[in-house]
């Protein structure tokens, strides 16, 4: 019965090492029993094939001898895995945002926002990968997490969270403001600049003109998300993540603009903002333009800082919500 030999060989390839020979010997004797039972005289290969077909594919038979269902990360470890993965991701994203701020405000070398954004994106699968590797090793070592499920206290359950509702007023204000800016940037880009009080000359901001496309993209992204939020009426896990993504994009655009202003001013050897203000009385044309650009730079810097802080808070809150409530909450029907 050659087929049985071939079958046994195939099962062997997938069997765990422990007791392998013993299991194979038993399988062989059982298969021969079954085939002989079926045949009146000398069994044929067709009869063997029939029995083998009933017995099941070799890989499945071998798998049923595995001590447990095989998991990369088993159900006992999974909740802990999810928690650690979220914390690790928040930490990595948060640390990089902080590093951006340091790079933009403190470091002398120029900050490359698109490289930084690419770095941020690639750090996410890398972080997840390492967490998976660690948990895979824990799973292999059969570590059982002790989550004290025995003595949990119903009275210690977290309060029902009211924070899921959106703030309508805030969203509408945001939309109106963004639309006004969008109209301004789209139809009158040459009107973005500053007017000097001395000779009433209007200077267009050259850096903003250069990055108009990116500014428009960031405004449109923000407006779209806000409208969607208004329509939905409440935060969901998806929109929270989208909000963080839009914020990170905004940070990148603001960083580019900030860098642009710094470079523009450096080209003209401009002195600091305060020294320029001190010299206002004796200033002429060109210096007024520098003062204006410095004011723009300061404003952008503040906007950048505020957005970074807001994003870090959003990331932390997102993680806290995941840890407290699980994912389902946000998807509950609104009615």
């Amino acid at each position: 019965m050659k087929l049985i030999d071939r079958y046994i060989q195939e099962v062997k390839r997938h069997l765990p090492r422990k007791n392998r020979q013993d299991i194979l010997a038993e399988l062989r004797s059982a298969l021969v029993d079954a085939v002989e039972d079926r045949a009146a005289g000398e069994p044929t290969e067709d009869q063997a094939a029939e029995v083998l077909k009933e017995f099941g594919p070799p890989r499945e038979v071998a798998a049923s001898y595995q001590p447990e269902t095989q998991y990369l990360i088993g159900p006992a470890l999974f909740p802990l895995f999810k928690m650690v993965a979220l914390i690790a991701l928040a930490a990595v994203v948060g640390a990089q945002l902080l590093a951006w701020v340091v790079a933009i405000f403190l470091a002398g070398e120029s900050f490359a926002p698109w490289d930084a954004l690419a770095g941020l994106l690639s750090s996410i699968p890398m972080t997840l990968g390492w967490v998976v590797v660690v948990f895979y090793l824990l799973q292999r070592a059969e570590v059982q997490p002790d989550l004290k499920s025995e003595d949990w206290n119903p009275y210690e359950l977290p309060e029902v969270q009211a924070g899921e509702e959106i703030k309508r007023g805030e969203l509408i204000t945001g939309i109106v403001f963004s639309v006004l800016l969008l109209v301004l940037f789209t139809f009158f880009p040459e009107k973005v600049g500053f007017l000097t009080t001395e000779d009433w000359v209007f200077y267009t901001n050259p850096v903003i003109l250069r990055y108009l496309g990116w500014i428009t993209a960031s405004l449109v992204a923000g407006i779209t998300l806000n409208i969607y939020l208004l329509w939905q009426g409440r935060w969901t896990p998806l929109t929270r993540v989208l909000k963080i993504a839009v914020n990170i994009f905004n940070i990148a655009v603001l960083a580019v603009l900030y860098q642009g202003h710094v470079a523009w001013l450096a080209e003209r050897d401009a002195v600091g903002f305060l020294s320029t203000v001190e010299r206002i009385p004796e200033m002429v044309g060109g210096s007024w333009q520098e003062l204006g650009m410095q004011a723009f730079r300061m404003g952008l810097g503040i906007a950048l800082l505020v957005t970074v802080i807001e994003t870090v808070i959003l990331v932390v809150r997102r993680v806290m919500i995941s840890l407290n409530n699980g994912e389902e909450r946000g998807q509950l029907p609104t009615g």
Partner: protein
């Protein structure tokens, strides 16, 4: 077309639920036949006689697990036409069979009560 798909889905689910229902029962069935030494294929025939079909691919790994859990002992016997692995209840296995049988009686009684209307 849609009805056929629904029908397939239903029968797949039925298969799955039946399997789940049988899974716990199989251990008790196997233990009940091992008060004397038997080898795998013999065990299958005995269960079959009583109307319980069990696939070979399910039985052999199950026997291994029960042995690992200390409910069965086993040894090779080379006296027959070919070597066969014989299984027998261990003292723990005998006790477990008693306990589970008691549990089974309770389950049957409870389920009879619950399914009163369906069973008529």
């Amino acid at each position: 077309m849609l009805d056929m798909m629904k029908e397939t889905q239903f029968s797949e689910l039925y298969e799955k639920l039946t399997q789940e229902l049988r899974r716990g029962m199989l251990v008790l069935a196997v233990l009940s036949r091992l008060d004397e030494k038997r080898y795998g294929y013999d065990l299958i025939s005995r269960l079959d006689e009583k109307g319980l079909e069990i696939e070979q691919g399910t039985l052999y790994p199950l026997l291994r697990r029960l042995e690992d859990q200390g409910l069965l002992t086993s040894e090779w016997n080379v006296e027959g036409s070919r070597p066969r692995r014989y299984y027998l209840l261990s003292p723990d296995g005998e006790r477990m069979l008693d306990e589970l049988t008691g549990e089974w009686e309770t389950i049957v009684e409870t389920m009879q009560g619950l399914l009163e209307n369906q069973l008529q």
